[in-house]
Subunit: 246 residues, 2 copies
């Protein structure tokens, strides 16, 4: 998978090349990240990529042409069909199903905005295919959102995680929140490990964890439960914890 990123801060993307799951995905040649700086596509003397908004008002707007040229260059880097995603507070909110959809593409282009945003004509003329927001909070640009997207895509790309079991168990895979985890030592701050986890009874442990997940989801994120179709087993465990809170 080829991910082309368009950003005036290309060096910010070094961290995803240097750390964690994204580093592994790149080293294994499962994902290639290529960052293009729109400043290289400017034609004015000072390499300005922004200008004042028509109609006045605060802040600066990113000029259409350098972004358009960078997108075209990015498109030329692969013969696969490619969609352009603009990271923007106006976009549709990112969720795990979008991540799955994106992870199946051979090539995507991520456009990171800065300042007050980009010239609307990039959207009107459909040079941009989709706008994506990562949540209802205001950031200073699209770079962190693009890295969030890339990290999440890499995590579900087959072959990246050593533990492919971990992906299959993920919260937003089966739509439940995670169960509690404990590790050594047996006693921390005078709090002990739940006995069941020391029992060695794997089917009981599995049931306990599922119950913990269901209870936590019901208490903290009932909206997630409503979206799910529960199995018979899950339904009966949920009823159990809803009737008597233990």
């Amino acid at each position: 998978m080829l991910i082309n990123v368009i950003s005036i801060f290309p060096k910010m993307f070094d961290i995803i090349k240097d750390y964690g799951i994204t580093k592994r995905a790149i080293q294994k040649h499962l994902v290639k990240i290529n960052v293009l700086n729109p400043r290289k596509f400017t034609k004015n003397k000072y390499k300005n990529i922004d200008d004042r908004p028509y109609g006045g008002g605060p802040g600066m707007i990113m000029t259409a042409e350098p972004l358009f040229l960078a997108i075209n260059q990015a498109k030329s880097l692969s013969s696969n069909p490619v969609k352009v995603f603009y990271l923007s507070p106006q976009g549709k909110k990112l969720d795990q199903s979008k991540i799955m959809e994106l992870s199946h593409q051979k090539h995507i282009i991520l456009l990171c905005g800065r300042y007050e945003g980009i010239d609307e004509r990039l959207l009107i003329s459909k040079i941009i295919d989709e706008e994506i927001s990562i949540g209802d909070y205001v950031l200073s640009g699209g770079e962190l959102p693009a890295m969030v997207l890339i990290d999440s895509i890499c995590r579900v790309t087959p072959g990246v995680l050593k533990n492919s079991k971990a992906i299959q168990e993920d919260s937003f895979y089966n739509g439940l929140l995670d169960y509690p985890h404990y590790t050594r030592p047996k006693c921390f701050n005078c709090i002990k490990i739940p006995n069941i986890l020391l029992s060695g009874n794997h089917s009981e442990i599995k049931r306990w964890r599922l119950k913990q997940s269901l209870t936590k989801t019901w208490l903290k994120r009932p909206d997630l439960l409503n979206k799910l179709i529960l199995t018979k087993e899950q339904e009966s465990i949920l009823h159990e914890c809803q009737s008597k809170m233990d």
Copy 2:
């Protein structure tokens, strides 16, 4: 404001010190970012910060003690009361009102998890005050979420943005999506600037922009409109665009 971050990848946070709004906030001494590596608080020979989960299962869990010691060290760095926020997919979803709340604190601690998460006893014993998620997608750790939080906090910290007007106009301030922006040249891809923006009539421009914002929000994020109490003017403009889509 002091932001202490606990992370096994402290160098990842260099990018927020080196770029954009966070860089400016730090240089102006409005925000101080301090990253503590829990590995420095380990007592075993190999400086391991993780161990296998009790009860079995895939992946590794972050050990309680080094995180606990790092949190205590962070707490000792200021005499102000301090809350500990754990970035986690199980947390309450971040929104702009949470950002505003956090931005009023003198000192906060952000704990970044890796692997399958942290030992539950840090939560049970209330060493952690709150869990925060940045959205319904699965990432590989809490570092990018912590940076998202820091970027968003810096953006609303008084004195950081040159253009304090820009903050006041923000989407999630007044709850509407942004209006379209245009900048030079007058003609891009044969698409012209809306005449109104060239008219110089500032009150008409303001009204046009508000109408664009209201229409876009109504079409793309009706959930945001439902949360708002609109002014008389906004209501009448919204009715206008709802009755005849122009």
